[in-house]
């Protein structure tokens, strides 16, 4: 521009300016921060209790996180589009039961997983249709479907339950088996996570999810098929909740009408701790997954340290508060640094 005084460093020479690298670094830093907290927590626990990081211990940590990681991955996709899916817990419960009844009748394990995913997709679609076609607040609609799906589940399941003895041995063993310390389930979750993250970063439709979360009106004007994308996000979220249901079945070998009750708050917490912002448009699934890992690990760390379970809830809450507060303070610092750097004449 003719009127502006030139900057010291011409922009064109460096592929990424200082501002961007800062932003990039910070976004990574957010995830890094969770990772550091996580690592610190593990180290402290290990020092306090040498049994903690045995092969079994690591396996337990990973297994505990798996289901939440899956659901949180799906949830972050929805949250990125500035929506929310509160019905995931109910979906998880009903899918797990569907897979369980099928297996109970002597079904094939792979088909059972498929069935659970399909069930999840169906409810995801329902949510997506209501939210995108009805253009109504996601919070209300999915709170509604949370109740509806839970109710249907309870009516259908009644007082029946699926127990480990109803399930094929292979299925249940798969739920706790793995390659040394790495459980199969964790590998599946990891694969889903990496694929989702790659999709979000490198595919047009993935970026469009961020765009429409960032500014829905602008997304419409940019010709982004908003409804289709929201529908897809919900469907994906539902599918992962369904998959998580199947995993729950394999892992716990036990499903009844209460399975997954109240799970939505845990999932939302994981997503929030992971830095996926509720106003949409920012955050990453890796963050959400780390958030999930952190949250579930707290529940393993405290008992391993011999902290009475009376304290667990309070500590959980305070850690959650700390996580978001620290995150926010860092973000504010960075924003002001960014502002100073970018001030045109500053």
């Amino acid at each position: 521009m003719t009127v502006t005084t030139p900057r010291e460093a011409p922009v064109t020479d460096v592929p990424k300016s200082s501002g961007t690298r800062l932003v990039d670094r910070v976004f990574k830093m957010r995830e890094l921060a969770i990772l550091v907290v996580f690592a610190a927590m593990i180290v402290v626990t290990q020092i306090g209790n040498s049994e903690f990081l045995t092969e079994q211990g690591i396996k337990d940590l990973l297994l505990n996180a798996t289901i939440l990681v899956l659901v949180a991955t799906g949830q972050s996709l929805v949250v990125i589009t500035r929506n929310v899916d509160l019905s995931v817990g109910s979906t998880l419960g009903i899918s797990a039961f569907a897979a369980g009844t099928y297996l109970q009748g002597g079904g094939n394990s792979v088909v059972a997983v498929f069935l659970a995913v399909l069930m999840g997709i169906a409810f995801g679609l329902l949510n997506g249709l209501l939210v995108s076609l009805g253009q109504v607040p996601a919070l209300v609609v999915t709170l509604g479907t949370l109740y509806i799906i839970r109710g249907i589940d309870s009516i259908w399941v009644g007082s029946r339950q699926i127990t480990a003895s109803d399930l094929p041995d292979g299925f249940v063993d798969f739920g706790s088996g793995g390659i040394s310390a790495v459980p199969w389930l964790a590998l599946i979750a990891l694969a889903v996570l990496v694929a989702t993250a790659y999709y979000l970063k490198h595919f047009g439709s993935g970026r469009e999810l961020y765009a429409l979360g960032s500014n829905p009106e602008a997304a419409r004007l940019a010709g982004i098929p908003v409804r289709k994308r929201i529908l897809a996000a919900y469907t994906f979220c539902g599918a992962l909740a369904g998959l998580a249901g199947a995993m729950y079945l394999a892992r716990f070998g036990n499903v009844d009408s209460g399975t997954g009750n109240g799970y939505e708050l845990t999932v939302v917490s994981a997503v929030v701790v992971g830095g996926v912002v509720f106003t949409g448009g920012s955050g990453s699934v890796y963050g959400a997954a780390l958030g999930a890992l952190l949250l579930t690990s707290i529940n393993s760390v405290l008992p391993a340290l011999g902290v009475s379970s009376v304290w667990v809830l309070a500590i959980n809450g305070i850690l959650l508060l700390l996580a978001i507060a620290v995150d926010r303070i860092v973000a504010l610092r960075v924003a002001s640094a960014l502002k100073k750097r970018n001030a045109r004449h500053g």
Partner: protein, 332 residues
Amino acid sequence: GTTKEDVKNEGASAATAGKADPNAELKKGLTVGFLPKQVNNPYFTSADKGGEAALKELGSSYKEVGPSSATDTAGQVSYVNTLTQQQVDAMAVSAQDPGALCTALKQAMKNGIKVVTYDSDTTADCRNAFVSQASAEDLGRTEVQLLAEQIDYKGEIAILSAAQTATNQNIWIDFMKEELKDPKYKDIKLVKVAYGDDDAQKSFQQTQGLLQEYPNLKGIISPTTVGIKAAAQYLSGSKYKGKVKLTGLGTPNDMRKYVKNGTVEAFELWDPAKLGDLAARAAVALVSGQITGKEGETFKAGDTTYTIGKDGVISLGKPTVFDAKNIDQYNF
């Protein structure tokens, strides 16, 4: 101002009045409402099924209402109110909270409805009688005995309970501690009571924590069906399978697999259907005037004669121990 002391001095008033007539005719055509802690809970469903069968046999009718969550105390209160409004003749209630239901139950009794609690009691003055699944003392002591045998009377043990506020569990645990004072358990050390809140995942993680915190742990007692099931599932998929013993209260259907795969040797429970059956019969006996809930009164249920104990407690009897030999004979 008013303090706890002042209230204590007011003194508790007796709940029951009137005279029992042991020979009174059993009334027919009554309606007895069952109000479990939670509908859809397999345990309560079997219990209530037992009640239903008994009522059918006695020529009365059965209904079941209840909240869908075991922690929705307000919901349970409103169901007491509903039953009162529907003017049932008696209700059998398993209380989520010993105090919370009181006002509503008293209101019901004022309206001429007989109240029996089963499985989980309220304060004594809020009901006519309590049908206990087995005396708390028996349960607590036998669980310790079961485990002690399995671990040869030595080593560290832990308890995995339900919620910290679970009345039943707390009483049982007290008796467990009492039993452990016996010199024959001198080599057994109770290291911790953990709480899994009757939530599968939490119980799971609490079990993990126990094993990590106490690597030498020899056994776990879980006096809750949810807890024992979760603990068994964890153990059976871990390196501790068969090495760490597990016992407690579980249903045969839940535990069959773990008994067969060697995770669990033996556990115990009463037959919930019998509990429901007795609750129903006690309710009908109350309405019929055979009993009023005073200590020492007796009534016949089926072939057995039950005597009402202190505070209106009717005890079902000793629990059944399940192991690999007998488990296939049961289906609940």
